[in-house]
């Protein structure tokens, strides 16, 4: 405050200060005014000294409660609260203005982030679906398969295919450990009600099974299933058989053999349960269940046993307890263990009798990919924000000069990135919503967006905030650390190393993208490699029909003759497994020169005379089975692998002994890939046996289209098997299905690789346009001095090409390491050749050049007059 020149007497300063101390702020101005006025008047009336004393007395008299109350403020005079809403509103306003002003950058940022978030969200939903597998069942943490572990040919296998008497053994000897048990035999059966016939997969199960799975009954009860002639239907089967009618107590005919009574309808099991394709339950203790006759067969494996352990039991302890229980009953060695339901889906692979991973690998793999794709999008955001920092440096300078604190500026830039993240979230949810059906198809899932689940929103929003903070953190700290004086004076120059972090981020982006491209190529090469493998027989036009009714079992010759006469088929045979699978493996073969210490396991396929002609195998030694030699009944034909495993030289005419009978080897066939195309051919023995047949294999007439051929075949089957619908499978489809897991991984990896490249290129495009803009003047000067368009293009592209080359050098070994590990799981695998790396690198380089060139050429073509005059 200015001091009057004539140094007029002043009231005592301490009293004024006292007034400011106690007086509420809304009154202080008025009071001070009054005090001051009275003081001036009194100087003239009673003199300075007395006026001062009166002044003090007045001040003291103002110290009274009635005048010290805070009045509800008529105007807000409180100091601004840190990050108060006014300021936040300002931040968002500025953020919006920035977004609108730089439309290209905003588009790149939001599109990139939205894509990244959509990928992360899809993968998140997928992982959630995988992790929640089987959790539909209330007792899912108490259920387990009983597993048997056996060793053959030096290979240990663990399967949930066990012997029937095991159930009674566990039930009677360990009543306190097992609450409920149920044997299962999953099969495809024909259900008929009146004229309606339906072939569906279901299972034979013991009475406790509905209770164990906690099936949700829509009609009837779980208890009613105790009746050995009762069935439970799933809702979908009940609807397709009965429509809106009530199916309870109706009679249903199973496999055209047995009549059963429907006692309940349960809600369809969701897609993410192991038993989701069990569409009905048939009663175990029914005479139609063949396995129910095997109650003392200790060596006949084939059905499964699910147990519900008691609440206090521990799976590991229980496994140890029951490990040896079948040993007293058999000569071989078989150990028993439990495989908890919670591990069925994700940890389904066994090594030496121990759980050794499974799909959990994919959960990890895709989780990592999802995180990386999101990281790429975040890197874009960081790169573009820091690159544009010089443009916003002035804003930062002015804010700081006006009084913004470091923390407030960080808050501003973080709120900006959070805003962008939320805009991206809206787009990404739309993207996920739009692409979910495609994704479900690709991943073989039935995922829906859990709109109504609070935890979904909680996670989504938390994860968006996280993305916003991560992508905004670097620019926020970088921008807010500018020195205001330098910025405002215009001496702010990003140093030589300012762009270094940006370059590192670009290298990371391209390393991830190139690794994904290499990985994708290797996955597809492996699939192609296995597909191109010579299979040794012809699958085209081969169809298989399951023999699930007694009518088909007789009349082999009549059926074959009529099929060929119909013109729809050229050949027909029967065997015990379809040509694309080997259902039966056996040991116990004896031959001359066999090493007595080993007991090798052979795939055993029972066939008829016409098998070779139907599938088209190639005889390499000896001869095919023939009706001209009545002694062929019971003969063997070996494949090359079987000959090698047995170690027999010149096997034709040799005798092998099995199940107490001598079998003559009449021939050797070329190896056929009937099992996994990724594994070496199974040593297989083809055995002529008309008493052990399950499948009818028909080769359709190649002169006709498949449709016409089937139309001719169908009436023949209808005639011989009137009780069942004509259900068939194409062998080439079945064979193609063996690749489905690999193809699924390949397709998903392709999708992610494309998205990763897309996001990286978006970022690169933004950076290139920024660099071109920043160097407008330089380019102008260069052009004036005689630089050609090509020179300028080279100048702008060189930096980016260098970065991509560095990424290639990092990505190559990285991808090689991981993909080599992946390939190790396949015994029949392709080689990783150098050209894969060359092609991926060249591809990435090409895409980079295309992206950068657009901006570079545009910059090179601008008229230098314009760019030089632009100030």
């Amino acid at each position: 405050m200015k001091k009057p020149l004539n140094s007029a007497p002043q009231p005592p300063r301490w009293a004024t200060r006292l007034l400011h101390g106690f007086c509420p702020s809304y009154l202080v101005e008025e009071m001070e005014g009054d005090l001051d006025e009275l003081f001036r008047q009194r100087i003239e009336l009673i003199g300075v000294r007395k006026a001062r004393i009166r002044y003090i007395r007045d001040v003291l008299s103002l110290v009274r409660p009635s005048l010290m109350k805070q009045k509800p403020a008529e105007f807000d005079a409180s100091p601004p609260f840190f990050l108060g809403t006014t300021m936040i509103r300002n931040y968002f306003k500025i953020a919006f203005r920035n977004l609108l002003k730089n439309k290209v950058y905003s588009f790149i940022n939001i599109a990139g982030l939205a894509t990244g978030m959509a990928v992360a969200m899809l993968i998140g939903l997928w992982i959630w679906d995988e992790l929640s597998f089987d959790s539909y069942h209330k007792n899912h943490d108490r259920l387990a398969y009983v597993m048997g572990t056996q060793t053959y040919n030096g290979e240990t296998g663990t399967y949930h295919s066990i012997v029937v008497p095991l159930e009674n053994e566990l039930r009677t000897n360990y009543p306190s450990d097992f609450k409920r048990l149920s044997l299962l035999w999953m099969s495809t059966n024909i259900l008929a009600v009146g004229d309606k016939k339906l072939a569906q997969s279901g299972t034979w199960a013991q009475p406790d099974f509905p209770e164990m799975l906690s099936l949700t009954m829509l009609k009837g009860s779980r208890e009613a299933f105790r009746d050995p002639s009762s069935v439970l239907l799933s809702e979908s089967v009940a609807t397709s058989l009965f429509g809106n009618e009530d199916p309870i107590n109706k009679v249903i005919r199973v496999d055209n053999k047995t009549n059963m009574k429907i006692v309940g309808v349960y809600e369809d099991l969701p897609h993410n349960t192991t038993f989701h394709d069990v569409r009905f339950l048939l009663p175990w203790h029914n005479t139609a269940n063949w396995w129910n006759t095997q109650t003392s067969a200790w060596r006949n494996h084939g059905c499964s046993l699910v147990v519900q352990v008691s609440d206090q039991s521990d799976f590991d302890q229980l496994s140890a307890k029951i490990k040896d229980i079948v040993l007293p009953h058999i000569k071989e060695i078989e150990y028993i263990s439990l495989h908890p339901m919670e591990q069925w889906h994700l940890y389904s692979e066994f090594k030496n009798g121990k759980v050794a991973g499974g799909r959990i690998q994919f959960v990890w793999l895709f989780g990592i990919i999802g995180a990386f794709v999101l990281l790429l999008a975040c890197i874009n955001f960081m790169n573009l924000s820091t690159a544009r920092s010089e443009k916003r440096a002035k804003e930062v300078g002015i804010r700081k000069a006006i009084g913004s604190l470091y923390g407030q500026l960080i808050g501003q830039f973080l709120s900006e990135s959070v805003l962008v993240a939320f805009i991206a979230l809206v787009f990404s949810i739309a993207l996920v919503w739009g692409s979910l059906s495609f994704f479900n198809h690709l991943a073989d899932k039935a995922i829906t967006i859990p709109w109504t689940t609070p935890s979904f929103w909680f996670l989504t929003i938390g994860f968006t905030l996280f993305t916003g903070f991560v992508s905004g953190s670097y620019p926020a700290f970088y921008l807010s650390s500018f020195k205001p004086v330098k910025v405002l004076k215009g001496t702010m120059r990003a140093g030589r190393f300012a762009s270094l972090p940006r370059k590192v981020l670009v290298v990371i982006q391209f390393t991830v993208s190139i690794s994904l491209i290499i990985g994708t190529i290797i996955v597809f090469r492996q699939i192609q490699h296995a597909k191109n493998r010579p299979v040794g027989y012809s699958r085209d036009g081969l169809i298989t029909v399951a023999m699930n009714t007694p009518e088909l079992n007789a009349h082999y010759n009549e059926l074959r003759n009529e099929l060929i006469e119909s013109g729809g088929a050229v050949e027909m045979t029967e065997s015990n497994s379809p040509p694309t699978q080997i259902w039966s493996n056996n040991s116990g073969f004896q031959w001359k020169g066999k090493d007595p210490t080993t007991d090798p396991l052979f795939g055993t396929i029972a066939v008829t005379h016409d098998f070779g002609k139907t599938v088209g195998w190639k005889i390499v030694a000896g001869r095919d089975f023939s009706r001209d030699f009545p002694s062929d009944s019971g003969s063997f034909i070996l494949n090359e692998s079987a000959v090698k495993l047995a170690g027999i030289t010149n096997p034709v005419g040799k005798i092998m002994r099995w199940n107490g009978r001598d079998h003559v080897v009449t021939g050797v066939v070329k190896d056929m890939v009937m099992d996994s195309p990724f594994k070496p051919t199974v040593p297989t023995i083809f055995l002529m046996d008309y008493g052990w047949l399950n499948m009818i294999i028909v080769r359709t007439n190649p002169a006709l289209s498949t449709r016409d051929a089937l139309a001719k075949i169908e009436p023949v089957f209808k005639k011989f098997n009137p009780g069942s619908p004509f259900e068939y499978k194409f062998s080439d489809d079945e064979y193609a299905r063996k690749f489905s897991d690999e193809e699924r991984v390949g397709n998903l990896a392709t999708l992610f690789a494309i998205l990763a490249i897309f996001i990286s290129c978006l970022g690169l495009f933004g950076l290139a346009s920024f660099v071109a803009e920043q160097r407008t003047k330089e380019i102008g000067v260069r052009k004036v001095l005689g630089a050609t368009v090509f020179n300028v293009w080279g100048l702008l592209s060189r930096d980016f090409v260098m970065l991509v080359i560095i990424s290639c050098l990092i990505a190559g070994p990285l991808a090689w390491y991981f993909m080599n590990g992946w390939l190790q799981q396949y015994e029949y695998r392709s080689k990783i050749s150098w050209w894969i790396f060359a092609v991926s690198g060249a591809g990435a380089l090409l895409i980079t050049l295309l992206t950068v060139s657009y901006q570079a050429i545009r910059a090179a073509l601008t008229n230098p007059v314009k760019s030089l005059r632009s100030e």
């Binding site: 101005e29 008025e30 005014g33 009054d34 009275l38 008047q41 009166r54 007395r57 003291l60 009635s66």
Partner: protein
């Protein structure tokens, strides 16, 4: 009871506001009372009374504009309300009534 009873000092303050009508603020009211009654009054007492009278809605106030005097500080200007005027009149009437009731013999 609040709103009906007027203390002696309050009455004096209210009268002063009426006298200075149009320019009645803390310091002016204080000077007025001092001049009229010839005794010194504390500013705090005056302000406290003004606040109380405003609470009883016998006075209203508004913040005046910024002027050159008082170093640019604003004044709070008080006006007597209708209720304030009626309160003063009632007191005066009561006094007159009581005066009239005094027998003439009382003074002798």
């Amino acid at each position: 009871m609040k709103g009906t009873y007027l203390g002696e000092f309050e009455e004096v303050v209210l009268l002063s506001v009426a006298i200075r009508s149009g320019d009645a603020y803390g310091a002016a009211v204080t000077t007025e009372i001092e001049q009229q009654m010839g005794r010194s009054v504390n500013l705090g007492a005056v302000h406290s009374a003004l606040h109380r009278l405003e609470e009883k809605s016998l006075l209203t106030s508004r913040l005046g504009g910024v002027t050159q005097e008082r170093g640019g500080r604003r004044k709070r200007l008080y006006t007597v309300t209708v209720a304030g005027r009626r309160a003063l009149e009632e007191i005066r009437q009561l006094r007159n009534q009581m005066w009239d009731a005094i027998p003439t013999t009382a003074w002798t």
